[in-house]
Symmetry: C2
Subunit: 512 residues, 2 copies
């Protein structure tokens, strides 16, 4: 058993109460040995005990204990110095300066209290040395990685580029290590990246995506799941997970991303960001690795509505903008399957816009046709490579590609025909109104949620997100609602090429 107390100087403003330092060093030894029962015994029982770190605050002994059981031990460290502040006969605060074995310094503040159970921690905050790069969020970062080349409205803004876009001198990784290992160094920069550079923005770095962007969860087994900056322990949303987390954490101002089936709207919703899926064809896709070209769109994630507006304005290829109508619509039938709090939140909010109820008909069939076409095109894009690289993608994404491999060209053609009919019917039902719906079927699920539960939420969310995909219409996610403190985006689906107008219109939407 290590004896960490041997070396550390102890500074105390008064003689430490009996047993306090013994308890402190017992805790330290237990932490280094990952002795969870001992650690649990040294933290006060009950719902008020708190432990905070860079990932957030845990409140309650049970949650703290579960965290300890799940993490597989704390990083090894030495206590470099101890500072005791005696607050009373049975209360003290101890600040420890920490020397992690892996370098750098850490800091730990504890509040200790003596009860019948002996000395126990009631409040703790710990911080360790920062990593050079958070590899869950980023693949490469620079100061900047690529400097802006213009003097436009985006000067000083930092862009996190989803790892599907070409950046000259860098590779495309697509969230798949085996793909990255074979990827060539790009010789030209993607058009959508260049537009932002020309407007003065800097590329801060290249950020993570779900494997081949074929997911909306935001999990990546190779690089780790990016943190949800708003809901500790929750999924970030995907597939534009890295750009979303980077923007939500303030590590970038703009996430340059793609949305095929929800990959911008879902992380925007989960992390309280603005996000725009653009009108199909409005933004050039040169230099973008495709997933499903019938539905692939370029868009952005931002904390600030005006920054999103500037991105949309400087990036459009030249198709004239269309005004947004004055009328809003909701589709109660589309929302019928949602959890009650989500449905109530969106319907309650939409009522304040005087949204008219419309019937979009059989969206489930539209969703199925969307799924078939997306699957066929995804296999066209990546199937040959995947066949030559068994095991390169994992879990739900691998399962999705297996299903995709069995979609025939005839299946896809029939689904495209069906989509055209759904498109006409939904457009007629909307009659030019802006459709209001939640950007996702739920707030962000826990990152330790059961895969089956994540898959169920995915299906519900895709029912919502497919509407814009079927229409080829712009869809803006606005961070306007919260459920129990977790963000829920409101999605505005407008007429084709009303992108700019939608963002403008959102400024006047009711705020709860």
């Amino acid at each position: 058993m290590p004896e960490p107390e041997r070396a550390a100087p102890v500074h105390s403003d008064a003689p430490p109460p009996e047993g306090l330092l013994d308890a402190f060093w017992r805790y330290e030894r237990a932490l280094m040995a990952d002795d969870v029962p001992e650690l649990d015994a040294l933290f006060a029982a009950g719902p008020w005990t708190m432990r905070g770190d860079a990932a957030g605050l845990l409140v309650g002994h049970d949650g703290i204990s579960a965290f300890r059981r799940g993490r597989g031990g704390a990083p090894q460290r030495r206590v470099a110095a101890v500072h005791v502040r005696v607050l009373g006969p049975d209360t003290a605060s101890i600040v420890a300066e920490l020397a992690p074995a892996a370098g750098g310094r850490g800091l730990q503040t504890q509040v200790w209290r003596r009860s019948a159970a002996g000395w126990q921690v009631v409040v703790a905050q710990v911080s360790g040395p920062p990593a050079a790069i958070d590899s869950r969020i980023w693949r490469e970062v620079g100061t900047p990685l690529v400097a802006g080349s213009g003097a436009g409205p985006l000067v000083g803004r930092r862009v996190a580029v989803k790892d599907l876009f070409a950046v000259r001198g860098h590779r495309i990784g697509a969230g798949v290590p085996a793909w990255l290992a074979e990827a060539p160094v790009e010789t030209a920069t993607a058009a959508a990246v260049q537009r932002l550079l020309d407007a003065g923005a800097d590329v801060a770095g290249i950020a993570r995506t779900d494997e081949f962007a074929y997911s909306i969860a935001g999990a990546n087994p190779h690089y780790g799941t990016p943190p949800n900056a708003r809901v500790p322990g929750a999924l970030p949303g995907g597939s534009s997970s890295g750009p979303a987390s980077a923007v939500a954490l303030g590590q970038a101002d703009i996430g340059l991303a793609t949305d095929t089936g929800g990959s911008i709207r879902v992380p925007a919703s989960y992390q309280g960001l603005w996000g725009l899926r653009t009108t199909h064809g409005r933004i050039a896709r040169d230099g973008l690795l495709p997933l499903a070209p019938s539905f692939d769109t370029v868009g952005w994630l931002t904390r600030d509505r005006a920054v999103l507006a500037a991105c949309a304005r400087v990036s459009a290829v030249g198709v004239p903008a269309v005004a947004a109508p004055d009328r809003f619509a909701v589709a109660p039938g589309l929302l019928a399957g949602l959890e009650v709090p989500v449905r109530d939140a969106i319907l309650g909010w939409a009522a304040r816009t005087e949204a008219e109820a419309v019937d979009l008909g059989d969206v489930a069939s539209a969703q199925e046709a969307f799924r078939v076409v997306q699957a066929f095109e995804a296999w066209q894009a990546d199937g040959a490579w995947l066949d030559m690289h068994p095991g390169a993608v994992s879990g739900a994404v691998a399962a999705r590609f297996r299903v995709a491999s069995r979609v025939s060209r005839d299946d896809a053609a029939r689904a495209q025909e069906a989509l055209a009919a759904h498109r006409d019917r939904i457009a007629r039902a909307l009659d030019g109104a802006i459709l209001l719906l939640p950007s996702a079927a739920s707030v962000a699920p826990s990152s330790t949620a059961d895969p089956a539960a994540v898959e169920a939420v995915r299906a519900q969310t895709l029912r919502l997100t497919c509407v814009a995909g079927v229409l080829g219409a712009p869809a803006l996610s606005a961070p306007l609602l919260e459920l129990d403190g977790a963000p829920l985006g409101v999605c505005l689906v407008g007429p084709r090429h009303s992108d700019d107008a939608l963002i403008h219109r959102a400024a006047a939407l009711p705020v709860p």
Copy 2:
């Protein structure tokens, strides 16, 4: 005046004592308004009050107040939630979840106490969201930036490459933004980088240097001064400041660096690392931006002696290794001008190695000859460019280049002749023994120290470091001593090409 308390939910395990929350919100308002007198009044007076953050722990009200006065305000933030734990009628802990205006989340733990002065903070720890990249330390970082290409002894080790070495596909920045702006993308990787890649190491990133490496302080006015990972608020040492801080913080395992006049030994000493200045000519310099080729050497900074040994072994160009002698020497005359604690520390320690006292003669003259040759060569390397880019370098480095611009070719030739004589005399005095001396004349000075004081320490340090430069000999800095908790390196200068043997020998040195 903002009213931050309007929105935040307050959770408390018991009714908060009267006045506590008022004081908490007063503090929050004062912080947002940078009202230092009010902040000072809300922190308890005296030497025991503590405030910790990612930069380290401040102990004592005065130091905390000085920090507040110097920083120009805290980042704007909103309090998202408040958790009160009542510890007694006059004691409470308040944990606040913070929503910084720039994104992400922060956390703040405070211990409050009521006295005649009212409610005051006695202990506080605060953490904010991490940056994407610490631009003081790094210019570019990847996961990795360049993957290792071999299966040698350095597999899994991460290299921070000083921004003087070519890395294919990247530019050389040399610590000078105007240089970087014009730098071409490198088409080949420097030999010293490639050796590490071939041995299995990954390049984690490109790390900061003092401007054109012409300093040993570690300050850089363009990118910010890297933090000293061991001594909060102190200079990191330079010119290999970025690699040194990266390794000391655990953000890399190997700092690939250069040492002309101390640029590896000084940061190693200041931050408690192993560092090797190699035998002149032992490591290839292809792809390295020169400072003063008569003295430029390649070397490494590590936390671990064995990793340093592996770097030296895999990187040598093929000159046979030489054994290290069994005998140690100290030069009391060389140490005469040092501060007493430094001199006592090194002499006391060296006595345990049975080091013999030697007289190296007039090292001051050798130092001057070294300075003249270095200055001449530095101006040869960078003068033409500097003439065309007025203002590109700043402060002490600019002053040094101005002096350098006035050194004539004849001055340099005379200094080279003098150096040859010094070399012979010093080598005779050492008679094959390993010279022991401090790696720097002091522990790390404060980063807010008076420039004149930094310059005085620099001159004293260069007196020590020039010996290896004059001899073309290897110099190992070993992290063996501390003065009041701040590291001080012990330097071993051995015969030419005894690099590997010096590192081996250091394993058996006495530890205080």
